[in-house]
């Protein structure tokens, strides 16, 4: 029974999160842009195809998540839909997982998956050389999107204000990416190796790209993004389960 109720809640919230036409516009936009990006410059290895296409798509996906998982989620609280969700006879932990699934995981899976399919078809002679490597890069981008998504969902749960959570989400995203760029810049100007490595490790796809192209990479670089993501994700689950008041 609990499984059936959970499934119902997934469908209801997914319909809100992916409702037309905004999602469809986004979908056609990212799919077309990724198709065009994949033929702009000659990329001759599967990981390079992933970098050429998914880097730009990740940005769009993050903005979509920042609106849907953050300010839109607060709308649910303010319009009284969230209290209704919480009356479902399922535990809070399951509800928190469902909301994460419908607000962050599935939208990012679709918004990153479709460009990957389009660029895979567009450049099939290149991607076909090693589909495994292309998939690994795609998963890296997906995990990076989860990191941003968990910042957003945590911000909306904590603040419960549409404006505040949107601002925190976008500054959080911007702050993270800008920090990485600044660290890389200082690292290259002053030739400080560790700063370059930290900046590199803040993008999970950079680390995996280096590994796939045979550039030696220390183990800790692989762990940076997954650990930050897990910490944020677990904080969100605990907060929603124990402290969250809709």
């Amino acid at each position: 029974m609990a499984a059936k109720r959970s499934w119902e809640l997934i469908l209801i919230d997914l319909w809100d999160s992916l409702r037309p036409p905004s999602f469809d516009i986004m979908l056609i936009l990212v799919a077309t842009l990724s198709g065009i990006l994949s033929v702009l410059e000659p990329v001759t290895t599967p990981p390079a195809v992933a970098n050429a296409v998914l880097g730009a798509v990740l940005f769009v996906t993050s903005l979509y998540l920042a609106l849907r998982a953050s300010s839109d989620l607060v709308n649910l609280v303010q319009t009284g839909v969230m209290p209704l969700y919480l009356t479902y006879p399922i535990s809070r932990r399951v509800t928190s997982l469902i909301i994460y699934l419908t607000r962050v995981f599935l939208p990012s899976l679709i918004l990153l998956g479709i460009p990957a399919i389009v660029s895979g078809i567009m450049l099939y002679p290149v991607v076909g050389k090693n589909i495994g490597e292309f998939l690994i890069m795609w998963i890296a981008y997906l995990i990076q999107a989860q990191l941003y998504g968990s910042i957003f969902i945590l911000a909306s749960n904590k603040t419960k204000s549409t404006g505040t959570s949107a601002v925190i989400s976008i500054t959080g995203y911007f702050g993270y990416t800008a920090t990485s760029v600044i660290l890389a810049l200082i690292g290259s100007i002053d030739n400080i190796g560790i700063l370059n490595k930290i900046a590199n490790s803040m993008g999970f796809y950079n680390v995996l790209y280096d590994m796939l192209t045979g550039i030696s990479t220390p183990l800790w670089e692989i762990l940076v993004v997954p650990i930050i993501f897990l910490a944020l994700f677990i904080t969100y689950i605990i907060y929603f389960t124990r402290r969250f008041e809709p």
């Binding site: 037309p20 033929v39 990329v43 001759t44």
Partner: protein, 203 residues
Amino acid sequence: MFWFKKLLPRIIFGIAIALIIASVFATQYGVKTYSSWSIGYNGKSAPAILAAIVPTGSGIAKINITGVSQALYMNLTGNPLTLLGEAGGLGLKTVNTISHDDFQTGVYFVVTGLQGNPITAEQAFQGLVKNAQKIGNSFIVKKSVNPEESIVVLAFPNSSTVLINENFKVTGYGHISLVFGIELGIALIVFAILLDVIMRRSH
């Protein structure tokens, strides 16, 4: 696409539109697979000349230099321009840098003069370099390069004008043809509509 009631047909429709637009774009403005660049460089301006090809993808790089007494080459991983910065530590200075980039072929051609002691320049690169093949009056280097690799030639001018020709041919690249892209796109649109109708009926 409010006329689609189900998620899967919406997604397939989106992919179809993207394939049609992108394959038209690819035919009109897409990647070129060959690029060439020639310059005449003042051989008196520097005791040594460094010519490099820095591509983003894999391909065959060819550098042809006329008017030099000797030419050495090497394959490098990474960007040779950062190496030039480090050459400063050896008392070498880069002067009169001329470059050309071709975005559609994904290649950056650069020629620069190296000032300082040419023997230091030669020693700095020794151990890593090979001698270029000499055909007639010109030295020719032709190598295949992988992504993240580049090719660098160090030459010592013996005439007032050094002619340099650099070209690059992309290998291992291919994209969907225009006809196949449009056909696949239309087929997917029809499939999306049928799928939506079937999924609606089954409910």
